[in-house]
């Protein structure tokens, strides 16, 4: 049986680890709350934009917009070159969160590779970058400076070059791999095609996109007889890039919220496991201590017996 002194040392070490994971759990919980608020706060804008886009969208106008250009062979046909944007976290201690995202990205990459489509890989977050550097896959771009609070500016910086590339014909499709935030415990990695823009349709039944948020604004009735300034075409031309940017922004905030959800779960599990370990260690320690005392008494009694002669 292990020595009591060694057991004590292990108990202390597990105790302090538990203290750390417990604290991290609390921190992740509060950050999750804030990240969740940001996801919710982004909804009115997304809803408004989606609705107006839906109102303005007209297949005849669509012909003239580069951002609505469907890949050759029509519809979901094979594209010649695809840009894939993978969003991961900068930090770990979040269970399989990043591994899941990377696996989803790999799956999509393999799919495209098999189809013989060259892919530009853009990665956000240290974890994804480290993985693909290890896998020796060249990255078209990478950035790690988007932390807890992604902003629309971050999204614009990410998406700007991609939109330009798409508009000039450099790539035929742009897809984002991110963690969809359904709830703190359900954050499935998701592939979302942001370019060419799929015209927003009511309800978004395709299941591929982000679930359409319930409108928090008073219901705006569709009215075809808007006064449009300057023109439907000009407004659509202005709003399309915003729509694309907003999808990336939502991907960023959802991934952030999902990350904290995953981290909280991971830290909660670690705390629970440390507790279980402490129970076992304490029991072992007490038994060892008791055994030592028993042995000492036995020795004293033995010694006294011997002296009596």
């Amino acid at each position: 049986m292990a020595k009591p002194r060694e057991l004590r040392r292990r108990i202390r070490s597990v105790q302090s680890t538990r203290k750390i994971t417990k604290t991290m759990e609390l921190v992740a919980t509060s950050k999750l709350k804030r990240a969740q608020d940001r996801v919710a706060a982004a909804r009115p804008y997304a809803a408004a934009l989606t609705e107006v886009m839906g109102d303005l969208y007209d297949p005849e106008l669509a012909e003239r917009f580069p951002l609505l250009r469907q890949p050759p062979e029509g519809g979901e046909g094979p594209a010649r070159r695809v840009a894939l944007l993978l969003i991961t976290s900068n930090r770990g201690l979040c269970g399989a969160f990043n591994a899941n995202l990377i696996r989803e990205a790999r799956r999509r990459l393999d799919e495209l590779d098999r189809a013989g489509t060259p892919v530009d890989l853009h990665v956000v977050g240290k974890k994804g970058i480290t993985y693909f550097r290890f896998a020796k896959r060249p990255l078209a771009s990478q950035r790690t400076d988007i932390g807890d609070k992604p902003t629309a500016t971050h999204a614009a910086e990410l998406v700007g070059p991609l939109v330009a590339q798409f508009a000039s014909g450099g790539v035929d499709a742009v897809e984002v791999v991110f963690a969809q935030f359904r709830s703190a415990v359900s954050t499935p990695p998701t592939v979302l095609r942001i370019l060419p823009v799929t015209p927003p349709t009511e309800g978004r039944k395709d299941g591929k996109g982000m679930a359409s948020p319930p409108s928090v604004l008073p219901s705006f009735r569709r009215s075809a007889n808007y006064i449009l300034r300057p023109s439907a075409e000009a407004i659509l031309a202005e709003l399309l890039p915003l729509y694309v940017r907003n999808q990336v922004y939502r991907a960023l905030v959802e991934t952030t919220a999902a990350f904290y959800g995953a981290q909280r779960t991971a830290m909660k599990n670690a705390t629970d496991n440390a507790g279980d370990m402490l129970d076992v260690l304490n029991r072992t320690y007490n038994r060892a201590r008791q055994a030592q005392i028993t042995q000492e008494i036995a020795e004293i009694v033995g010694g006294a017996e011997a002296l009596k002669g």
């Binding site: 804008y45 629309a152 009735r221 006064i227 907003n246």
Partner: protein
């Protein structure tokens, strides 16, 4: 009329107002209750939302402004701006 001002990050303003003056792409636009359905691109400038004698001001850039008759309960104005700063 009901006015909402939203930025990509959050809803900045949500409430009743008597008048809205917004910077459209080609100059200021004033919206009073009873305006016809309207959709215009926004430029850069100061957005004023007036309720009685009080007035909220925001500096905004980009996005659009929409006026819709919300049916029965008066009009609704929605300002969806690319950037919003309260001032």
């Amino acid at each position: 009329m009901h006015v909402t001002v939203v930025s990509p990050e959050r809803a900045v303003f949500d409430g009743a107002a008597d008048a809205v003056v917004a910077p459209a792409y080609d100059g200021q636009v004033g919206i009073l209750p009873g305006h016809a359905p309207f959709l215009a691109l926004l430029g850069t400038g100061v957005l004023a939302v007036r309720q009685g004698s009080a007035s909220s001001r925001f500096t905004i850039a980009g996005g659009f402004l929409q006026v819709v008759g919300a049916g029965g309960g008066g009009d609704a104005v929605r300002i969806v701006a690319d950037r919003v700063e309260e001032s």
